[in-house]
């Protein structure tokens, strides 16, 4: 196991940040800690890094108890949301900082920094200062700086949170490819479910100081363990006692067996796909379906039209969910 967190609790005064949290991060994986702000995910990451001390519980990094180690002895790399660039140092000196601290020979530092700058695609910017870089470049510099000392684990605290949407998309993609190259055990904290789903192979969903569910992105989507995960990960229609994802709602002929009568209330084009807002005849239940263009064209839907809906794929909350935790 890359990282093991056992029964960790942390309070700040009267506020409980973490309540008996246990997680395992497999070696070489890219795991996301996903949750709304205040869910405790950043505190958990900072405890793994040694920037906060847990009130109870323990942290193991590559099998070694790190609970009482200061940050500099844990062998972790950390990337902050606001870059934490050393403003008075050049990009080269920023990236080489950890190596210089370890008294590495100058020539070796130079070679290694050049390698890393190539890796994060900042070649040619080595002599610039952080203030002369864009936000995305600064964050890539921070990543190179963290990787320079060969950390056993890489911890990223909302690394793309301060960047604009387009740069964020690019960096997500880039981070995933980078991870395929360097394979260091990586934990990414984010509040953006799309980001977590896109980048990571495993997601730990947190809410109110607890872990709600752990699983592969598809598991969380298909088999949410709780109402919270269901609502937080992906779009959902809530039915009495059950839920169904909008793309699982099938539109059919009302006379077909298993289909119920419903009325099309509104059609809403959302880029590539279309949102069809429906009202079930039987009880007035409102829900919506997500349709691809060809399907929409085939059905030729109009507002006010009478259609059938097939909700066979609707599930009860918690069904199969226990399997999801071990599926990854």
């Amino acid at each position: 196991m890359g990282i093991v967190v056992r029964n960790v609790g942390k309070r700040f005064g009267a506020y409980t940040a973490l309540e008996d949290v246990s997680i395992e991060v497999p070696d070489g994986s890219l795991t996301a800690l996903l949750g709304p702000s205040g869910s405790g995910k950043s505190t958990l990451l900072r405890i793994v890094a040694g920037l906060e001390t847990p009130d109870r519980g323990s942290v193991l990094i590559e099998g070694r108890d790190a609970t009482n180690l200061p940050p500099q002895e844990r062998g972790v790399g950390f990337v902050f949301q606001h870059y934490a660039a050393f403003k008075h140092m050049t990009v080269r000196d920023n990236v080489g900082f950890g190596l210089r601290i370890r008294k590495a020979p100058k020539a070796q530092v130079r070679t290694r920094v050049d390698e890393l700058l190539g890796l994060v695609q900042l070649d040619g910017l080595a002599e610039r200062y952080p203030s002369q870089l864009s936000g995305g470049q600064r964050q890539r510099m921070a990543l190179a700086r963290a990787l320079a000392v060969e950390p056993r684990v890489l911890l990223l605290d909302e690394p793309f949170g301060a960047l604009d949407a387009r740069v964020r998309e690019e960096l997500r993609d880039w981070l995933r490819r980078l991870h395929e190259q360097v394979h260091v055990t990586t934990v990414l904290v984010t509040h953006d479910q799309e980001e977590a789903m896109e980048v990571s192979s495993r997601i730990v969903v947190m809410n109110h100081a607890r872990v709600e569910q752990v699983g592969a992105p598809a598991d969380l989507y298909e088999r949410p363990a709780s109402d919270f995960v269901m609502g937080f990960v992906g779009k959902v229609n809530r039915l009495p006692g059950a839920y169904i994802r909008p793309h699982e709602v099938r539109i059919c002929d009302p006379r077909e067996p298993g289909c119920e009568a419903a009325e099309v209330e509104r059609l809403l084009a959302l880029g590539f796909e279309t949102r069809v807002e429906l009202r079930r005849r039987r009880d007035g239940q409102r829900l919506w379906a997500q349709l691809a263009p060809d399907e929409l064209a085939r059905l030729g839907l109009e507002p006010g039209q009478e259609v059938g809906i097939d909700l066979a794929r609707a599930r009860r909350i918690g069904d199969e969910a226990l399997l999801a935790g071990t599926a990854a």
Binding site: Q72, G75, E115, L116, L119, Q181, V182
Partner: protein
């Protein structure tokens, strides 16, 4: 473009061990505590203890001696008056320096700090040069209370200006323009829009100026003539008591002076805490 991960600079073996970290924090706190105790706390405690050499009665006698009362009264009244004048004129100067434009403004702005940078004894001497017995203007305020007021105006000039300036610079001119656009006159805009925003800074600057003025010595000592009951300020009175080898009385008057200054500084601290809380709510 892959990086050979294993061929890296390893952590020195000694760092990997479970070696206890040497925590410097208590050491630093201890050093700071010892330093402040030795330099600031111990001397002030000495004054407080010495003021009670002859008991509470002795303390009371020393601070109610007619000459001491006259000196304390003079310092208090002059300081309040001077601070009031500089609160008004300091705000006005700050406004001119931020919102007005004219050639040589940078020099005028630098001039504001001169009373702070100039040694007090030199400040007193410069005032005597222009307003002393040999005044080329023919106005002499030497050996009068007006001289004291002049010296205190000089040394307390920077406080309000420097407190108000950054706040005024931050204050959006558009807010004022909006008030104008709504038909408010210049004075109304100032009273209802600008002044409330500046008030915490003005009071904070005025408080520091008062703490400075009430204990002022160097700039006053030459121009005032130090005539008991007329132009002797509290600090000069303490000085005289020390010279006359009466440290208990000097200490008693010092305690009163300290209490006045501390009360004002504490009030400012409270005010600042309150105004930052407001900002956080915003």
């Amino acid at each position: 473009m892959s990086v050979a991960v294993d061929r890296a600079v390893p952590l020195p073996a000694s760092r990997r061990g479970a070696r206890r970290r040497v925590d410097g924090a208590p050491l630093l706190r201890g050093a700071v505590g010892a330093w402040l105790s030795l330099i600031v706390v111990l001397p002030l405690i000495a004054v407080a203890v010495r003021s009670l050499d002859n008991g509470l009665a002795g303390f009371w006698k020393a601070v109610t001696a007619p000459q001491a009362v006259a000196a304390l009264q003079l310092s208090l009244v002059a300081s309040v008056g001077v601070v009031a004048v500089n609160a008004v004129l300091g705000t006005l100067i700050a406004w001119v320096l931020i919102r007005d434009r004219f050639p040589g403004k940078a020099i005028v702005d630098a001039l504001i700090d001169l009373p702070f940078a100039l040694p007090t004894i030199v400040a007193g001497l410069t005032l005597i040069a222009l307003y002393g017995p040999k005044s080329p203007l023919g106005v002499s305020v030497a050996y009068t209370r007006a001289g004291i007021v002049l010296a205190l105006l000089f040394v307390t000039l920077p406080f309000v200006v420097r407190a108000v300036q950054p706040v005024l610079a931050e204050l959006d001119a558009e807010v004022e323009e909006a008030a104008h656009a709504l038909g408010a006159s210049g004075w109304t805009t100032f009273r209802l829009v600008i002044l409330p925003a500046l008030l915490p800074a003005i009071l904070s600057g005025a408080g520091l100026a008062f703490a400075r003025a009430v204990g002022e010595f160097g700039s006053v000592v030459l121009i005032s003539g130090n005539i008991p009951f007329r132009t002797e300020v509290a600090a000069v009175n303490i000085f005289t008591q020390v010279e006359n080898n009466n440290p208990a009385a000097a200490a008693a008057i010092s305690v009163v002076l300290l209490a006045l200054a501390m009360a004002v500084l504490a009030a400012i601290a409270l005010l600042e805490r309150r105004s930052t809380r407001h900002e956080r709510v915003d």
